[in-house]
């Protein structure tokens, strides 16, 4: 394949996920359907039925079982994938920690959806923000094209550091919207991801191992320290693999963060996923009016890119951080807290405020984006703002 020449396909976010999974051709997929991620495994199961993949597909009775089956298969050395959303991810919560603690490079495609109650099937980040401390690498993608490439890269990243990874896209907003995706030929994907090299071979009867034994006060802490080392190391590995991917295929996927018109910016907004696209449009309009405003999109939040956040935001006068999730701590959304923590020891610390928006799939529109930028501008100009504000809610 000539670098930079792609096979253009019109795909929804879910179709892009499923197509990437088809090209990855994992050994095992265990999954349970849930809106808006249902299509991922539904489409994938068609590939299985048509003999287009060699995957052992395990339709289970719940997400708890889905991830449990993934853990078992991954311990056995298989390349394993799954997909879910919302309550499904919540039901997997217990097993997420086990997958990470056993250092299993399972890759999960998530179509972000809010959590009950009240019940709602639409997109916000409540589900995966609840998994922040589970030990998974977390990748938030902006659109279907990025989701496609991110899933392929996630396999390589996860299997290099032996940690599980979840790749997110916004439920419905991206999962069900069709766009042009620059796909790669099957053999290029195959070549890039290579073979999984597991930490041990469960079928080597000459060298047996015990997996998942009781680990008490004398060793648990050492194993957790070691797991943390893998996450520290993931930082470097993610940068290397993303660079190699972009260099090989001519893609332009940012690793941890995407700075947008930040160079001479006096104030900036921080956002994840599809909201960043809306903000870019509005920032362009504001730039035309002479406003020095920019955006920092966080793409990978585990490991958290504190160096990049510091590099791009220190020296900027005012920053607003967008969260499509609540922490219910009264301290603001999760990304507001983490961006603040990253900037605490920055040489030139900006003034910071937060915005919680789009809960339950509420549209994030131009009007809201304009309000957000105005408020950050006010903050820059010395106006006092609350710790964080709710955007797009009826008062």
């Amino acid at each position: 394949m000539e670098k930079g020449t792609f096979i253009k396909m019109a795909l929804t976010g879910n179709e892009a996920y499923a197509y990437a999974m088809k090209q990855i051709n994992p050994d095992v997929v265990a999954a349970y359907p849930i809106t808006p991620a249902t299509e991922i495994v539904q489409i994938f199961s068609k590939y299985v039925a048509n003999g287009e993949v060699d995957t052992e597909f395990i339709p289970v009775e719940s997400e708890h079982s889905a991830l449990s089956a993934c853990v078992g298969a991954s311990v056995g050395g298989a390349r394993v994938m799954t997909g879910t959303s919302s309550q499904g991810l919540a039901l997997m919560h217990e097993i997420q920690y086990i997958a990470a603690g056993l250092r299993l490079p399972i890759v999960m495609a998530v179509a972000n959806r809010t959590l009950s109650a009240p019940i709602n099937i639409h997109g916000d980040h409540s589900d995966t923000m609840g998994s922040r401390d589970s030990g998974w690498i977390q990748i938030y993608t902006e659109n279907a094209n990025e989701a496609y490439h991110s899933v392929i890269m996630a396999i390589k990243i996860a299997e290099t550091v032996n940690l599980p990874a979840m790749v997110m896209l916004d439920g419905f907003i991206i999962s069900h919207e069709m766009e042009v995706v620059n796909t790669l030929p099957d053999e290029e994907v195959k070549k890039f991801i290579g073979e999984r090299k597991p930490l041990y071979n469960l079928f080597d009867f000459e060298n047996p191992v015990t997996v998942g034994p009781l680990d008490l006060q004398d060793y648990y802490f050492e194993h957790k320290r070691q797991q943390m080392e893998a996450m520290f190391n993931a930082k470097k590995v993610i940068l290397e693999i993303t660079k190699k991917y972009n260099d090989t295929f001519g893609t332009d996927i940012p690793a941890f963060v995407e700075p947008y018109r930040l160079d001479d910016a006096e104030y900036a907004v921080v956002a994840l996923s599809s909201a960043a696209s809306t903000l870019k449009e509005i920032i362009d309009e504001w730039r035309e009016k002479g406003e020095k405003v920019g955006l920092l999109r966080l793409r990978i939040t585990r490991p958290f890119p504190y160096e990049e956040v510091k590099k791009y935001l220190s020296g900027i006068k005012a920053v607003g951080v967008m969260d499509r999730a609540e922490t219910h701590s009264t301290l603001g959304g999760p990304m507001l807290q983490e961006v603040k923590a990253a900037l605490y020891d920055a040489e030139k610390r900006p003034k910071i405020t937060g915005f919680v928006f789009g809960l339950g799939g509420r549209d994030f529109d131009d009007e809201q984006a304009n309000t957000v930028l105005s408020m950050i501008k006010d903050l820059k100009d010395g106006k006092e703002l609350p710790l964080y504000s709710f955007i797009g809610v009826r008062e």
Partner: protein, 95 residues
């Protein structure tokens, strides 16, 4: 046994090699210890059969004693020793 640092441990929280359960001394939290009276013991092996920690030692068809490194003092052996024999008594461990 010198405890290993996190750098020395195999990744994935596994225990490599087998068998390694003998290395895990389960006997250090026992509050009572079984003592066998060999004047009474008929070597019927019921205690050996029921011990959940394989801690009744046997050799050539004869009961040899108790592996106190691993016996956790549950008292099952004393319970299953036939009532007409009662060769095992549970004695308090000194603290």
């Amino acid at each position: 046994m010198k405890l290993k640092s996190w750098k020395e441990l195999p990744e994935g929280a596994i225990i490599p090699g087998a068998p390694n359960s003998p290395e895990f001394k389960t006997g250090d939290w026992r509050t009572e210890r079984p003592v066998i009276n060999f004047d009474k013991c008929t070597h019927c092996h019921l205690c050996w059969l029921y011990c959940p920690d394989s801690s009744i030692l046997t050799e050539n068809g004869k009961i040899k004693g108790v592996d106190y490194d691993h016996c956790k003092g549950c008292g099952i052996c004393a319970e299953v020793c036939p009532p007409s024999i009662k060769a095992i008594t549970m004695e308090k461990e000194e603290v």
